[in-house]
Amino acid sequence: MGKQDVIDAVRGLPTERVPWVPYCGVHSAFLIGEPADTYLQDPDAIVRGVLHAAERYEADGIPLIFDLSVEAISMGCPHRWWPDNPPSITGHPLAKQSLNDSGIKVPGPDDGRWPVVIAAGKKVRDALPDVALYGILCGPLTLASHLRGVQLFTDVYKNPELASEIISFAGQVAGESARIYAEEIGCDVIAITDPVASQIRPSTFQELVAPASQPAIEAARNAGKVSSFFICGDATKVLHEVADIGTDGFAIDEQLNLSFVRDVALYHGVGFAGNIKLTLALSLGLLSPREDAIACLGAGGSKGFILAPGCDMPYNVPPEHVDQVLQAMEWHRANYAPYPHQMETNKEKR
């Protein structure tokens, strides 16, 4: 498997072949016939699911889990488990009280859901030495939203000191999550995943999200691991800020034009990943997953590009749709003109 290709591509480097990272979160549970709620609370089930998904989909890299509620639940946020989704956050401890009054602390490796994640992660790490293991952590703005609720987006403008305090605290939590994934589990790629960061103005991203992301970036760097910033939704308006945040690369969802994304990534010298359509192609098959993957491969090139779904794959994606992505990669390698850096490499060889 192409573990080193993944690491190189995250860093924006050319790769001989485009690496493929299926974001199998609760979809790994589906593949082994487990409901998501029991799967995510059972380390052995997670191990079975990730190993099965990595082999089934010939993955160069794969997430340990894709669950942005780990940190929030570990800090006591009310939540609800689902059989076909990660848990959802149903209440916000900072909606009516301050951070100081709440007594909420940064959760460490012994707290909340972390022991299950760490136990699973160590076993997966040992079993998949040649696959890039992704540690997906909850980014600071999304975590702050879990803690404060949607009021946070009004606070940003009407109560900026409070918003800054909560987002900054969430950044410290993200830093500890990054340390756990990088140092205690040994993940290769630390993914700061902040889906709501696309739902704000670029100035807010620069003022609040970028500084709060630095502890996680630093933790990854200190452990000698690469980092990537995962953002969802239409992130066009903040994409230059994302590319410039300090991570080695970033990942985007299906709503962005991949040619534009590639140009932004190349401009900033970072890697990028995406963006096979989750719903219309992978889930529903209304668009051909094979053709969509080929379109991505054509736009992405092979300098710093990782082929991946637009976001976490839904629970019951038909595996045969993902098989079409594998077919597309094979066809693309056999028939598609190589990206220019390949020509330079060949010239050097001659």
Binding site: K96, H146, V150, V196, Q199, G233, D234, C311
Partner: protein
């Protein structure tokens, strides 16, 4: 239906996607007086009905909040006052618009979110 404001929220899936979660919550956390005069529904593009609604409304991005059929908040989680103003401007009667404007300083109410979200997902 002249005493009701229709709100459609186009999402990936508010359980899976945090951006969608907080778009939905921005409606579900509106105070009770507003809950009484709005009718809202989540349309997940993971379903055929959601895809059809997205096409029908000429949706461009996810998540999006549409008020009275207008795509208003596209990939931008609104502030409370922005939501109030957008609803008041599109209220079908002047009286309803005035009622909504009077609640501009009330703020979000998180006590009934789960109940309100369940209603939005119920059909």
């Amino acid at each position: 239906m002249s005493d009701t404001i229709m709100i459609d929220v186009l999402t990936l899936d508010s359980l899976q996607c945090a951006a969608c979660t907080y778009m939905m919550e921005s409606i579900a956390a509106l105070p009770k007086q507003i809950q009484d005069v709005i009718c809202y529904r989540e349309w997940s593009i993971k379903t055929q009905a959601g895809v059809d609604k997205f096409v029908e409304m000429k949706g461009r991005v996810l998540p999006t909040i549409a008020i009275q059929g207008d795509l208003i908040f596209e990939s931008m989680i609104p502030q409370y006052e922005e939501l109030i103003d957008a609803m008041a401007q599109r209220a079908p009667t002047e009286e309803l618009g005035a009622v909504i404007r009077d609640l501009r300083d009330t703020g979000f109410d998180f006590d009934e979110i789960e109940t309100n979200l369940a209603k939005a997902r119920s059909d």
